[in-house]
């Protein structure tokens, strides 16, 4: 059975409604750019922005899409830790935008310098002025180096964050290659929420994979700002124990919770925490992060601490600034900040804009999933998987308001154990999400 009678009636009613509203679509959407076509401008072509643009064009070809992206190429953060292990090369996770460019109307390689949300206009460093009906900000994260004393431009030549994949990733790999056997690799985990919750712990595994084979006397010290391992904890602990001697006197990994890096010294090669100074041969500090700078330009980085962007889950439109939508890591949500979520929320936003453009209501109860793989050795991986359903804001009998959220459904969670099968699935996931995001051919 495809539909029961009630659903069928609902669908027919929906279609009839659509047909009658169709003629009004121009009025309903109200182009601000002075006539057709309706213009959507996307800033940032990562997992969120690129996926959004591709699906919007597929689902509503009448909308004119412009992408503004500063980088010449797409470099994938997922699987970039494997570059540190030597399992991947940077070229393996780097893609041109050639296919994506063909799916949109205008491609602008440039940096946004200001956003006028009243006049609905974006200005770029290259002197362009681009009008929009709807603006989609998908700029990922901004790293707050000033929160770590001494982490200035000069220090950043020596101390890598490698939390945006690219040259930083390649440099960190070279530093590890140059490190002597018996050296110490000091890495940090920022306070949650941050991009890719399991990423730092996967990084420890992947660097350990390399050191175990190439420099077995070396050590990894993890300085975690959080009170405990923030993601997939039992699985990471099991992997550290199984592969890297964790829990023994000979452990390659030393884990220090509640150790937020407060300062760095690139000359003495030290990281300072509240407790002590930690010396390393290679230092990898990931500073605290917030929503991308473009979100501040649009006035949408406006949660209580001006860190993330509150949005309506049904449309990803800012809760305060009309016609500005925010995707992926920049948003304030109860989703993990993952590439998978960025990819899927790009589709949620595209679906909602298509409905609104056509004078219909966006889906009032979206359901969406997240699946994240982490490689814990050179041949095994683990995952976390969750289905989320929209729950509207509620006012209790006491008048207390529970805000709208995406509710994690029962049954979600992490792998039973690490496996080679999941490593194969992880590699397949990566190929599929790259293809889905960038429009790569099969």
């Amino acid at each position: 059975m495809a539909f029961d009678r009630r659903e069928f009636l609902k669908i027919s009613a929906g279609v009839t409604g659509a047909a009658s509203l169709g003629a009004l679509s121009g009025c309903a959407s109200g182009p601000a750019t002075g006539g057709a076509p309706y213009k959507v401008v996307v800033v940032g072509a990562g997992f969120g922005g690129a996926t959004f643009a591709r699906y919007l064009k597929m689902w509503e070809p009448k909308i004119e899409i412009t992408i503004i992206e500063p980088n010449a190429n797409f470099v994938s953060c997922p699987t970039s830790n494997e570059v540190l292990a030597g399992l991947n090369k940077l070229e393996d996770i780097t893609f041109t935008y050639d296919h994506l460019k063909k799916s949109v109307d205008n491609w602008v390689q440039d940096t946004v310098t200001s956003i006028d949300t009243v006049g609905r206009n974006v200005k770029t460093a290259g002197g362009k002025s681009i009008a929009y009906d709807r603006l989609v900000l998908a700029g990922g994260i901004e790293l707050m180096f000033d929160k770590v004393e001494g982490y200035n431009a000069e220090a950043q030549q020596t101390i890598m964050h490698a939390w945006k994949a690219g040259p930083q990733t390649a440099t960190l790999r070279k530093q590890l290659e140059a490190m002597p056997d018996g050296g110490v690799f000091v890495m940090s985990v920022p306070m949650a929420p941050y991009r890719c919750p399991p990423g730092p712990y996967e990084r420890a595994c992947q660097v350990a994979t390399y050191l175990k084979q190439a420099k077995p006397k070396s050590k990894i010290i993890i300085l975690d700002g959080n009170p405990d391992i923030a993601s997939k904890k039992p699985l990471f602990l099991a992997a550290w124990t199984k592969h890297y001697g964790y829990g023994t006197d000979n452990s390659m990994i030393e884990y220090r919770p509640n150790n937020m890096p407060r300062s760095v010294d690139p000359v003495k090669m030290m990281v300072g925490t509240e407790f002590d100074d930690v010396k390393g041969d290679v230092i990898n500090v990931v500073p605290p992060m917030r929503a991308a700078t473009i979100c501040e330009m649009a006035g949408v980085r406006n949660d209580s601490s001006n860190t993330w962007c509150p949005i309506d889950y049904r449309t990803f439109e800012s809760l305060t600034v009309k016609n500005v939508h925010i995707l992926g890591d920049s948003t304030l949500t109860n989703f993990p900040k993952s590439g998978s979520v960025a990819n899927n929320t790009g589709k949620m936003c595209a679906a909602a804009i298509v409905e609104m453009f056509n004078g219909r209501e966006p889906d009032s109860a979206p359901v969406v999933t997240n699946t994240c793989y982490s490689a814990v050795s050179e041949t095994t991986a683990i995952h976390v998987a969750t289905v989320f359903r929209y729950a509207a804001a509620k006012t209790g009998p006491d008048g207390k308001v529970t805000p709208a959220s995406m509710v994690a459904q029962k049954g979600g969670g992490i792998s039973k154990e690490e496996s080679e099968l999941e490593f194969a699935y992880m590699e397949s996931w990566a190929k599929n999400v790259w293809a889905d995001t960038l429009g790569l051919p099969g």
Partner: protein, 99 residues
């Protein structure tokens, strides 16, 4: 399957000229959500199985088997438990229609 065909015909017949626009946008979005693992349009690269072209009945049966654990899986039980039977039917109909 017969019933679903009947409804398809009914939809097409009843709605006549607008039938081309009669896309189940909810199913389209839910199916698109699967693409990050199963590939764009359910056509996978690598070890994760493709979904494109699977028969609706087979798709629904497998999702139910993942949910009740009778088909062992690494990831899929967690996803199957989050969707309703009606959503399995919608997704199955969507993927079966992809060539």
């Amino acid at each position: 399957m017969k019933k679903s065909l009947a409804i398809t015909l009914l939809l097409a017949g009843t709605l006549g000229a607008v039938s081309a626009q009669a896309i189940d946008t909810k199913a389209r979005f839910m199916a698109a959500n699967c693409a990050y693992c199963h590939g764009p349009e359910g056509k996978s690269r690598g070890a994760i199985p493709s979904l494109a072209g699977l028969e609706q009945k087979y798709f629904v049966e497998q999702m139910k088997a993942f949910r009740d654990g009778s088909r062992p899986a690494t990831v899929m039980q967690k996803h199957a438990m989050g969707y309703t039977d009606a959503e399995f039917e919608q997704l199955g109909a969507w993927f079966s229609a992809i060539k």
